[in-house]
C-alpha cells in the first residue's frame, strides 16, 4: 500500500487556486523533498494530507481520508508545521506527561533520551527556550512517536546553520529506519540534497517535475565548460546555462557522462540549480525564478 495516494487533488480559496489537480503517489520508506517558490501550494497540499483542510479530488493517507479521519490518522502521522508552534506556556515536563497521556505511540523514555543530549531542562517553559531549542524539543517529541509518516513543513526556517545540520542528522540517524516515510519542504534545499530519496518541484499548484534521487544523479550533470569547447557543448542542447565568476556552467539532461567529461569538469548539479533550470522552462515564468 502506498503511504500517500492523491488523484486530482485540488483546493481553491475563493477564486485563488492553491492546489490545481495534483496526482501523487508516495511509497513507504521514501524521503520526499517538496520544493517550490512561495505560494506554490506546498503548505496547502500538506495541510490536505494532514487533515487540516478540506479538498476536492481523491486523497488517501495510509489508506484513510485525512479530512474525515484526522484524529485516527494522527496516531500514525506526525508533523512539524512551521517552527515554534509549541504552546509557549507549557513546561517541558508537562509536555512529556501530556504526550504520554494522549498519544498511543509516544515513547517517553526515547524523548527524554533525545532531550538529554540538549541543554533543555524539564523545568523549562517553552517561552524560556531559544528558537533553536524549541525546534530541538519539537523534534525530540516527534521522533519519540512511532509514526509511519512524518511531515516537515519548513522545520528549520530561521535557525542557525548548526541547528539545521543537527536537525537533519538526528532525523537520519535516530529516526529514519527505511520504512517510515518523510515529506519535507524547505527553502534551504542544499541541506537536504543528501537526505532525500525523491524530489518534486511544485509551482502554481501543480507538480512540474519529479524524480528519484538515483535518476537525478544518473541523468543530470553540470559541466563547467572550457571556453574553447563552448560551441561544442552548446550543440549538445543544455537545458540551462549560467555564468559564475566568468566561467560558464551548462546543465545537461540525459547526456552521457563520458561525452561531457571531454568538455570540462562534470559534477552532479545542486537541487537549486536544477530547480532554476526547470522553473525557467515553465510557461509564463521569468528566467531565474527564486526559490
Amino acid at each position: 500500500m502506498a503511504c500517500i495516494e492523491a488523484r486530482g487533488l485540488r483546493k481553491a480559496f475563493g477564486t485563488t487556486i492553491a492546489v490545481d489537480g495534483i496526482d501523487l503517489q508516495v511509497e513507504e520508506g521514501r524521503i520526499l523533498g517538496l520544493i517550490g517558490p512561495n505560494g506554490a501550494g506546498k503548505t496547502t497540499a500538506l495541510n490536505a494530507i494532514l487533515g487540516l483542510t478540506s479538498f476536492d479530488g481523491d486523497l488517501k493517507v495510509l489508506g484513510r481520508d485525512p479530512w474525515s479521519e484526522r484524529e485516527r490518522l494522527m496516531r500514525d502521522v506526525s508533523f512539524i508545521a512551521d517552527v515554534a508552534v509549541l504552546p509557549r506556556w507549557i513546561k517541558v515536563a508537562q509536555m512529556l506527561d501530556y504526550m504520554g497521556g494522549i498519544h498511543p505511540r509516544f515513547d517517553r523514555a526515547k524523548a527524554e533520551g533525545f532531550l538529554a543530549r540538549t541543554t533543555i531542562k524539564h523545568t523549562n517553559k517553552v517561552r524560556e527556550l531559544s528558537k533553536g531549542m524549541v525546534v530541538q524539543l519539537h523534534l525530540a517529541l516527534v521522533m519519540a512517536i512511532d509514526a509511519k509518516l512524518l511531515v516537515l513543513d519548513e522545520p528549520t526556517l530561521g535557525l542557525d546553520i548548526l541547528f539545521r545540520k543537527q536537525f537533519y542528522d538526528s532525523l537520519l540517524n535516530d529516526y529514519f529506519d527505511g520504512r517510515r516515510t518523510i515529506i519535507v519542504t524547505t527553502h534551504q534545499v542544499e541541506e537536504i540534497q543528501n537526505v532525500l530519496t525523491d524530489l518534486m518541484f511544485i509551482d502554481r499548484g501543480r507538480i512540474v517535475f519529479r524524480t528519484s534521487m538515483e535518476d537525478f544523479e544518473a541523468r543530470y550533470f553540470e559541466v563547467t565548460v572550457n571556453p574553447d569547447r563552448l560551441e561544442q557543448a552548446r550543440a549538445l542542447k543544455p537545458i540551462h546555462e549560467r555564468q559564475v565568476l566568468g566561467r560558464i556552467n551548462l546543465l545537461f539532461e540525459g547526456v552521457d557522462r563520458p561525452r561531457l567529461a571531454a568538455l570540462g569538469d562534470v559534477r552532479t548539479p545542486s537541487i537549486a540549480d536544477l530547480f532554476v533550470a526547470v522553473m525557467s522552462h515553465q510557461p509564463g515564468r521569468a528566467q531565474g525564478a527564486a526559490l
Binding site: 487533515g51 484524529e71 504552546p87 508537562q94 497521556g101 512511532d146
Partner: protein
C-alpha cells in the same frame, strides 16, 4: 546516494507496529482537562486569592463580628439570623462572582488563543479530535469551575467558622448560640448545590456562546460576544419599543436560583427557609432548552475549529 546504513530493522519495532495502540477517550479527555488547568492557572488561583483575602479581612475585623454576635440575642429572630450569616453569604457571593468572571474570560480565550499563537498547529498534530478538545474546554466552566468554587467556598466558610468560634472562646463568650443559628453543614451543601446547578448547568448557554465566539472571532472575542446582544436589545427597543429579549437573557442570568430552590432572599442563607426543588428544576423546560442551545453553540464551535484554515 543515500546510505541509510543505520536503518534499524530490529524485532522490537515489528512488535510495536503489530501492537494495536489505542488510548481510551476518557484518558484523552482527562489529559485535555489537565492541559487546560496548566495553561489557565487563574482558574484556581483567582478563587483561592479571593478566599485568602476575604479570610484575612474577616480575621482582622473579627472584633466587629464578635460585637454583632454579642448583640444578636437582643434582636428579632430573623434579624438575629441575618446578623450571624451575612459574612458567610458575602463570602459565597464573592466567590460565585469570581467564578463567573474567571469562567467568562476563560471561554473568551479558550479557542482564540491557540489560533493567535499558532499552537493549534501543534494540537492538531495529535490524535485528539476537535470534539474532545471543545468538549473539554466546555466542561471546565460548566462543570469543573463550579465544583472548584464550591470546594473553595466550603473551605472558606469553615475557616471563617473556626476563626469566629476561636475568637468567641478566647474572649470568654458562649459559642452555643452561634453554632445552633449558623447550621453551617447544611448551608455549605446548599451553596454547592446552587453553584453546580445554577452557575454550571443553568448558565451553560452563556459559556457555550462565549466559546462559539472565541472559535469564530479573529480578535476581541469579548466585544464580539457582548456587542451583538446589545445591538439586538437596541433594535428591539427601536422597532417595537419592547425589551423581551433583554428580559429573557436577564431571566437566564439571574433566574436560575428560583428554579432550583425556593427561599426568602436572593441567597440560600438558611436551610430552614430554603427548599430544594430539584425535581421541579429537572422538569422545567428552561433547563432543557438551555442545554439544547448550549449543545448547538458547542457544535458550532467544533465545526469552526475544524473548518478554519490553520495558516
Amino acid at each position: 546516494m543515500n546510505t541509510h546504513a543505520n536503518a534499524v530493522h530490529d524485532s522490537t519495532l515489528e512488535a510495536q507496529a503489530a501492537k494495536v495502540a489505542v488510548v481510551s477517550p476518557l484518558r484523552t479527555l482527562y489529559w485535555s482537562l489537565r492541559r487546560e488547568f496548566w495553561e489557565n492557572r487563574s482558574l484556581y488561583i483567582a478563587p483561592l486569592a479571593v478566599a485568602a483575602v476575604f479570610l484575612f479581612a474577616f480575621a482582622v475585623s473579627i472584633s466587629h463580628t464578635l460585637h454583632r454576635i454579642g448583640r444578636a440575642p437582643s434582636l428579632a429572630p430573623d434579624k438575629q439570623l441575618q446578623a450571624i450569616t451575612t459574612p458567610y453569604d458575602l463570602a459565597a457571593g464573592l466567590l460565585m462572582f469570581t467564578g463567573i468572571l474567571v469562567g467568562v474570560f476563560y471561554c473568551v480565550e479558550a479557542l482564540q488563543g491557540e489560533r493567535r499563537d499558532r499552537s493549534i498547529l501543534f494540537w492538531k498534530s495529535l490524535p485528539v479530535s476537535d470534539l474532545t478538545t471543545v468538549f473539554a474546554k466546555a466542561v471546565i466552566p460548566i462543570f469543573l469551575l463550579p465544583l472548584l468554587i464550591s470546594v473553595v467556598s466550603f473551605a472558606l466558610q469553615w475557616s471563617m467558622f473556626f476563626v469566629a468560634s476561636a475568637a468567641l472562646l478566647a474572649t470568654g463568650q458562649s459559642v452555643s448560640m452561634y453554632w445552633t443559628q449558623l447550621a453551617l453543614p447544611q448551608m455549605s451543601l446548599l451553596v454547592i448545590y446552587h453553584l453546580v446547578v445554577v452557575h454550571g448547568i443553568w448558565h451553560a448557554p452563556f459559556y457555550g456562546w462565549f466559546l462559539l465566539v472565541s472559535a469564530w472571532a479573529r480578535r476581541m472575542a469579548f466585544l464580539w460576544a457582548i456587542l451583538p446582544a446589545l445591538a439586538v436589545f437596541a433594535l428591539e427597543r427601536l422597532l417595537f419599543n419592547t425589551s423581551h429579549i433583554a428580559a429573557m437573557l436577564g431571566r437566564r442570568l439571574s433566574g436560575g436560583a428560583s428554579e432550583v430552590m425556593t427561599m426568602p432572599g436572593t441567597m440560600p442563607i438558611h436551610p430552614a427557609t430554603t427548599h430544594v426543588t430539584f425535581l421541579h428544576f429537572l422538569f422545567s423546560p428552561g433547563l432543557w432548552i438551555g442545554l439544547a442551545v448550549t449543545a448547538a453553540f458547542l457544535a458550532g464551535a467544533i465545526r469552526l475549529r475544524r473548518y478554519r484554515d490553520p495558516n
